[in-house]
């Protein structure tokens, strides 16, 4: 059984999300737990000539409370806007006031795979003289952290971590360390991406990692299924407010979950494929479990990277079996990507919000579209329907291009 650290425990006290499947934690949870996929034919541009014509897009009205003034909208990329809205909602959800944030020296860390490169792509389409002067600032991955810190008037260090599709696991990991080291009592950690622009999208489709199941968008993304044919691109943002446990208790905050560990490693193998043995990914899991002071058998649920590419799902299954041995078959494992798509840098942020809610709802979200078992993927992926279960420890897997492995361990606060 787990041996907990007593000092500077790090808990989650606020959640925010801007996703293709809902712009608040409740509607997001409803969609992922009930398996209501947000994957559709692409609305943002004409993709009819592409191999892949589907994606999970965030609704145009994501800024329901009109937080972002129109002049700011014109000078920022969607990824920054998603992050700003999601973060403001997360802070509101935490019940922390501006004054408390400032007093606790709250820092901001945002993960993103692309930053504002979509803004550049849009600007390049325009006529020559119309280039927005703030283009460079809109591209900077740090842009949303700047906006958030200015909005709340925060003075602590801000960072953007851009480790491809595992960026937000790393952002959360760094934020967790800052609180653990006693540098601060509150951190805002989140992630955002928006890459549904024609050139980037087309280029991704050339990598043969995207699903071509264009006829039935909601059924397209099939993690761990024998007939899986690739990922479906998503977008959005999700934010966690992390807080020192004592600090949260003292102010009577609602506590969702505890961050127990973070592990990182590099495959140093291939630019797009995961290293087949999964040994470096496994090492990241071990580091995270060690830091959490947990045994593999303590874990009950794995929030899978589960992209539905041939390569990922086999490697992910393999290293899970290597580390968990017989216990691998007792584990519940699922991927929320068939519902919200692969949000790249935002993907692990959305996973973290989902995982936090699992402790709260005592329900494990399913992997939808899983119908035909693959002999290489023979674990319990929670097909189709959610499973009622009290889960105490969750392992969250993320992986990024070029073999970046990042793993988080979350726990119920007891």
């Amino acid at each position: 059984m787990a041996r907990r650290f007593k000092k500077n425990r790090v808990v989650v006290t606020g959640l925010g999300v801007v996703s293709p499947a809902g712009n608040n934690p409740n509607s997001f949870w409803e969609a992922i737990s009930q398996g209501h996929s947000a994957v559709k034919h692409i609305a943002r541009f004409d993709a009819s000539k592409f191999n892949c014509q589907i994606a999970a897009e965030v609704d145009n009205n994501f800024d329901e409370n009109q937080i972002i003034p129109s002049e700011l909208k014109a000078m920022t990329d969607l990824f920054s806007q998603f992050a700003l809205v999601s973060t403001i909602n997360a802070v509101e959800n935490s019940g922390l006031t501006k004054k408390e944030l400032k007093k606790s020296r709250c820092g901001v860390i945002i993960g993103t795979a692309a930053g504002g490169l979509s803004f550049a792509e849009k600007e390049l389409r325009k006529k020559r003289n119309q280039l927005h002067p703030h283009t460079v600032f809109a591209i900077f991955p740090i842009n949303p952290a700047v906006l958030v810190s200015k909005y709340f008037g925060l003075t602590a260090p801000i960072t953007a971590i851009s480790t491809a599709c595992s960026a937000t696991s790393d952002a959360i990991g760094l934020a967790y360390q800052r609180i653990k080291e006693g540098k601060t009592n509150v951190m805002v950690a989140g992630g955002a991406d928006s890459n549904i622009e024609p050139i980037t999208f087309y280029s991704l489709s050339l990598l043969r990692i995207m699903s071509k199941s264009n006829r039935f968008p909601i059924k397209a993304c099939k993690p761990f299924d024998k007939h899986r044919d690739g990922l479906v691109l998503g977008e959005g943002a999700a934010t966690l407010v992390l807080e020192n446990y004592e600090h949260a208790l003292a102010r009577g905050a609602k506590i969702y979950a505890e961050i127990l560990g973070w592990g990182f490693s590099l495959d140093a193998y291939h630019i797009t494929a995961r290293e087949p043995s999964g040994d470096q990914a496994l090492r990241a899991v071990k580091i995270a479990l060690d830091r959490a002071r947990l045994d593999p058998k303590d874990i009950q649920y794995i929030s899978a990277h589960g992209t539905a590419t041939k390569n990922n799902d086999v490697v992910e299954t393999k290293f899970i079996k290597k580390i968990f041995k017989d216990h691998a078959y007792n584990l519940l494992i699922s991927s929320i990507k068939p519902v919200v798509g692969h949000g790249m840098g935002a993907a692990s942020a959305m996973q973290a919000v989902a995982n936090t809610l699992i402790f709260n709802r005592n329900l494990v979200p399913p992997t939808i579209n899983y119908t035909t078992p693959d002999p290489d993927c023979d674990l319990n992926y929670v097909p189709s329907k959610p499973v009622k279960k009290r889960v105490d420890y969750i392992l969250q897997n993320s992986a990024g291009f070029a073999g970046i492995n990042s793993v988080l361990v979350l726990g119920r606060v007891v």
Binding site: L117, S149, P157, F401
Partner: protein, 408 residues
Amino acid sequence: MKRVAVTGIGIISPIGCSRESYFKHLIEGTSRTSIKFLEDLKGKKVKCIIAESGDFKPEEHLERSKLRRTDRSTHMAIAAITEALKDANLKINKANAEKVGLYLGVSLGGLTFATTQANQAYSQGLNKVSPFLAVAEFPSSCLGEASIHFGIKGNSSLVSTADNSGTDAIGLACKEIKSGSLDYAIAGGTEAPIVPICYRSLKKLGLLTTNYKNPQKASKPFDKKRDGFLLSEGAAVLVLEPLSRAEKKGKKIYAEIIDYSSSFDPQYDFTRESPRPIAKQTLNDLLKKNSATPDYICAYAISEKLADKMEAKLIRETFGNNPEITVSAIKSMIGHSLGASGAFQIATACLALKNQVIPPTINFEIPDPECNSLNIPKKAQQASLKTVLVNTLGFCGTNSFVLLGKGT
């Protein structure tokens, strides 16, 4: 807590594509700034004053297949890492790979690659687009490609904090050495921002120099006639390891990285004169914590009207009129390479400490009264240096400071 030693340096810069060439030209006060016409999407030429790493030959560092799928910022990073590893005599192998980490800072990612691809797509159709576009344009590309190229498997990160990226990447890497979680950290910054979209955006904001008549005099930090910064490119990379072990092994030590601190000034607005109180407080806390007074400040000094004035004020208010403290602006020679620039300052501080010489500030002809009372030598100066301060004060309001000490 372990102490951090710098045992290797690699540099690709506008004034030299090796550590030695860079520092020699820096001490000599070289500028290779030139006028160049960059072609934009519509085939129109954009007249630019830039400091390119013109001598850089990527094909000497990477095979063709890798060159074609990656951005120039990645090419420069890999070349600089190669030199730094060799300098530190560090060979990455199976036995140590998991204890070697890579911390790179880049502010824009693969924008050069992205722009070229967009150019081709809009002029010749989408079928000209490279399947590697998305991979190459992501800021993580340099980290991923380098990890594969060198076999690095340990704790690593890609830090993107605009102008502060390189400084913050090195700061984060120091923490890993101090805590003992890594045996070696390779850390630095890289940036290849010389593309029309970047140049025109910064120019529209009025941040760039427009001294087309005399490009080599365009970058003049703290000078009264400065009119904006000089856009440049490059990569600067350090090898960091525990000081005690480096000493025991009798390794060459350039410097010790004593401490690093960062913060954010939410009120700061680069378009107008605005205060930077948090920067001042962060710097004061850092100096106090380490009971340090620098002999030399390798300043941020980008040659922009308001930014230089703000920094001069910060230095004056922190140190008073202390004539013992010398200030220099390396950007007068190498320009501002955005995310790489802080790594250049830190590498320069290391080389200054090792060689006990302060680089000159060129084009500093008419001191701006608003940046007064700074001791800024026009020629290189031999000096007895013990402590060096590096300031990074980005346009977004991000403050990063690094204190370096003399190695043994």
